[in-house]
Symmetry: C2
Subunit: 324 residues, 2 copies
């Protein structure tokens, strides 16, 4: 594979991705959502969750593991929780639905927990939690996925990477955005199968607990079925939890955001310990990359451009004239 | 300090600790709660959060940083959230109050988030989350404490250890109990001040986010004031969040607990990877220690026994006859 990279503007990528998803059977609204989530990740440097995944989405549509035209239902049990049955919708569609529902619930009951059953490829989890922070709420999320990580004492891939994300609105500063999607392990699905990262009992145990919370409450266990001989046990799927917290139920939002600002500034004022002067808060490195890529474009391998063009041609999707 | 250890039975320790806290001005109910939380930690091998802390509690009472007779108020804003103002109550009193309130709320609105403002020394966080699991709920908790951890690029203690805990009820198995109180760093307050553990941007960033969530929503920032020249900025205090989730709002509890059992058993059946045959789930090592210490007693340094006896004598608290 050529390692040459070419810069493509974000809007061009969004249009191409949207065209491809519409041609693959998604509604215009869903296609735009998926395109936006993937380009959001590329803009922040999370390239493993960016447009390179378009080809994987198409494979999942072809195999029937994902549904381009899902019948998503929201089961609202009582006041503060709901279950979104994703009908194998792509992650950006299912998790955006869930976070929107959580924010709407939290406006009336202060906090909401929305479980997502049976989606695929949720991508960069920060995309959904940051949406809550954009509306002045605290957003939280967890995802349970297919086993890719080791567990101390057992061989092979045992549990998923199972990211956790928290987004908090700041006043003068950027949103504080913790997203362990990439921290927990650098896209293990891109590593050779013989390399199974393990994070000791701490990391693996955390992953196990998040699987039980996300998949157990959604009645869609992943780990137990993956390691069974049940048919479909290894069919690709993910579950999630998205939470929204209405900050104004606790404290005036401007006071909360001032606390965030003051805390970031207090740490920044501390004496520099070593040559690392470039101190970062969760979310800050992504924003630095965003600022650069908004101007200079998103660097993509030439091979990926070829593959995306081929996929678009095959589906009869328009390729924007400035794509190359 | 002598390193000789003596075994003391759990009930003897509970009685001694309760007597000391009553003599120090706590109500009988609060004294029993604090004693139970400390001995709970000892029984599970979390000795840094056990009865060795009694002396520290007494210091905090003496300095006025903690209040043995607090006026705890619960501010119930709307339906699913509340704020417990701890009035500097010891952690076991404040956090037990908060978790009980969270469980009671969750029974009517499925999920509850209770913030705790201004407590001290919350101890082993799993004590409170496990209480929810004992009642068939999922329990979650975070604590924000005084800075003890480094932050990449800045010198000294910048953020707190800020543990996270999740407890989930199992069917045939022990409660799955994740408690990063001890995982995140081995009781850094027991290390020499020159040793400031750091966990890279991931760990420090997670800690920062938990501080903002727990302390920001409770209107009681710790990190920003600690690093300021404000009077009282370094006065010992902690904030917390406790959550309870009513599993039956999502799925039949017996189905959830069967998923937990099936998942633990599926992992246990996997081929052994190395000499580590002793596979552990979160909470399991603590239960193994519990089973042993319930029978053989809790090993304590002779020096600690001396110190506890001296403290009891000074306060006029009865020392059980079988203490030594």
């Amino acid at each position: 594979m050529s390692t040459t990279r070419v810069r493509v503007q974000e809007q061009t990528l969004r249009v191409l991705a949207g065209n491809i998803f519409v041609a693959a059977g998604c509604s215009l609204e869903h296609a735009d959502l998926i395109a936006d989530a993937l380009v959001w990740a590329n803009l922040r440097g999370f390239d493993a969750h960016g447009v390179s995944r378009i080809l994987r989405y198409l494979e999942l549509f072809d195999s029937g593991e994902s549904n381009p035209a899902p019948d998503i239902t929201v089961d609202q049990t009582r006041s503060a929780v709901a279950i979104v049955d994703a009908d194998s919708a792509p992650g950006p569609v299912a998790l955006s639905t869930a976070m929107d529902h959580a924010m709407s619930l939290a406006r009336t009951v202060d906090i909401a927990w929305v479980s997502v059953r049976g989606t695929v490829h949720t991508g960069a989890l920060g995309y959904y939690t940051a949406r809550a922070a954009d509306y002045g709420m605290a957003g939280m999320g967890i995802v349970a996925g297919m086993p890719t990580l080791g567990y101390p004492g057992r061989g092979g891939a045992v549990v998923g990477t199972n990211p956790l994300s928290v987004a908090l609105p700041a006043g003068k500063h950027q949103t504080v955005l913790l997203d362990t999607t990439t921290d927990f392990s650098a896209a293990p699905e891109l590593l050779p199968p013989s390399v199974i990262p393990s994070h000791g009992i701490g990391g693996a145990g955390t992953s196990l607990v998040l699987e039980l919370l996300a998949s157990g409450l959604a009645s869609n266990p992943i780990v137990s079925r993956f390691h069974s001989d049940k048919p479909g046990g290894r069919r690709h799927r993910q579950n999630a939890v998205l939470m929204a917290v209405d900050i104004s139920a606790f404290v005036a939002p401007e006071e909360f955001m001032a606390t965030v600002d003051d805390t970031l500034e207090a740490i920044n004022r501390l004496p520099v310990a070593d040559s690392t002067t470039d101190i970062s808060y969760p979310g800050e490195p992504g924003v630095r990359t965003l600022q650069e890529r908004r101007v200079d474009g998103i660097p993509l391998h030439v091979q990926l451009l070829d593959d995306l063009e081929t996929a678009a041609d095959k589906l009869g999707a328009d390729v924007p004239s400035d794509f190359r």
